[in-house]
């Protein structure tokens, strides 16, 4: 596999980075990087870490990082997690208020501890902490429950002072969305599977409305809704499918869409195959809507979506 860290890759311009990923020869990994300056979204770092964990550390070839910002990758814990040497010297800073370094989560209890420790680290207002905790919990639990990934969920996050935003990236190298969603719902392509996974009430664990005792099929819809209401980017990449919720202008009414393809978005069904799932989310803290208002909108959209699906399944008697 080959992955190149470009000069810039945030959710708005991450597509070329994804397209440049070469998944061939999965037994080894070659990491190269722009040698001038690197500024990337945490999703990029989580992806590289997740890939690296699938490969014997001896088979990771990492180009010497020359970029001025190379220390960032040490701070985020990339080399440490992958157990590969680095000659980049840094002064360790207290991470409070700035970033959450790469973290690998493999169990439910690890996730609960992580969330408890993470929130105070970022010094957020209660409403913002609620939103962030919600996103991390739902996304990581998705990985733990569905992905069957040997390495669990890999995540990291960064606070950006200039935009007053938090950016989060979560990656896994598990089954991918298509394999899990098609256990209960037909989807021809990875992108079709992503579309289904983002709809409220659709889960791979059952074809029935209302889900199972443990799964409702609502987690990703909630996360996409949080991003949509806050007018932030949200991406999901699995197999060859890639969906990006684009930023939109402010609206008076919180209107959510049950079908992600009716949101303002871009999509690609032919990306290099990512064996697993990657999710990236931005949360602009200045415009974080009150969580309870968001829940009102979710309730309305969810109910309408379920009622419409019921109507579609409703069979009328045939009179001849």
């Amino acid at each position: 596999m080959k992955i190149h860290i470009p000069n810039s890759a945030f959710l708005g311009n991450i597509d070329p980075f994804m397209r440049g990923f070469d998944p061939s020869s999965p037994e080894c990994l070659e990491i190269t990087a722009n040698d001038k300056w690197i500024a990337v979204h945490p999703a990029v770092i989580s992806m590289i870490a997740a890939l690296g964990l699938t490969v014997d550390a001896k088979k990771i070839r990492c180009q010497r990082f020359e970029a001025t910002s190379r220390h960032y990758f040490v701070r985020m814990g990339l080399f440490k997690l992958l157990n590969i040497p680095s000659d980049i010297v840094i002064q360790e800073h207290e991470p409070a208020g700035r970033f959450i370094p790469l973290t690998q989560i493999r169990t439910s209890d690890q996730l609960t501890s992580f969330i408890t420790e993470m929130i105070p680290l970022l010094h957020l207002q209660p409403e913002q902490a609620k939103t962030l905790g919600y996103i991390v919990s739902e996304l990581v639990r998705n990985v733990l429950e569905h992905a069957e990934s040997e390495h669990g969920a890999i995540l990291c996050a960064q606070y950006y002072k200039k935009s007053n935003s938090i950016r989060i990236g979560i990656a896994d190298t598990g089954l991918g969305i298509k394999e899990t969603i098609t256990r209960s719902h037909p989807a021809e392509t990875d992108l079709d599977a992503i579309r289904l996974a983002l709809m409220p009430g659709i889960t791979g664990t059952t074809p029935k409305e209302g889900g199972t005792e443990q799964n409702a099929g609502a987690g990703l819809f909630f996360i996409k809704s949080i991003a949509s209401v806050n007018r932030d980017f949200f991406i999901i990449y699995s197999g060859a499918g890639f969906f990006k919720l684009l930023k939109k202008t402010a609206a008076k009414n919180l209107r959510l869409k049950a079908d992600p393809f009716t949101d303002r978005h871009s999509a690609d069904a032919d990306m290099p195959c990512w064996r697993g799932t990657v999710v990236g989310v931005d949360i602009t803290l200045d415009q974080t809507e009150e969580f309870t208002r968001l829940l009102d909108a979710i309730r309305e959209t969810y109910g309408t979506a379920v009622r419409e699906r019921r109507k579609e399944r409703y069979k009328r008697p045939r009179f001849t």
Partner: protein, 96 residues
């Protein structure tokens, strides 16, 4: 009537579905089975995920019918928790 306090099991953010399942299977279901009504006390819980609430109550509604809500009381819920519970109860009724 028994009261189950959520906070000592989850902390201020109720998100661990395994804890929700354990509460449902080991405490709520046996109490309902014994003819007792159940109070779920969310005092000090700031937020809960939809997944947590789903794991806590959806199977009760699915298996015992919506009438089970007459025997469940959700106490001391703040706005967020109240709305999440309402979303789960709504879609469990819409979908059946």
């Amino acid at each position: 009537m028994i009261t189950i306090k959520i906070f000592p099991r989850t902390g201020a953010f109720a998100e661990n579905k395994d804890v929700a399942r354990e509460l449902r299977v080991k405490e709520i279901l046996p109490a309902l089975g014994a003819g007792q009504d159940v109070i779920l006390d969310f005092a000090q819980v700031d937020a809960a995920t939809q997944s947590f609430i789903h794991a806590l109550i959806s199977d009760l509604i699915r298996k015992q019918g919506i009438g089970v809500l007459d025997r469940l009381e959700f106490r001391s819920c703040n706005d967020t928790v109240r709305k999440i519970i309402t979303i789960v109860v709504d879609y469990m009724q819409e979908g059946t």
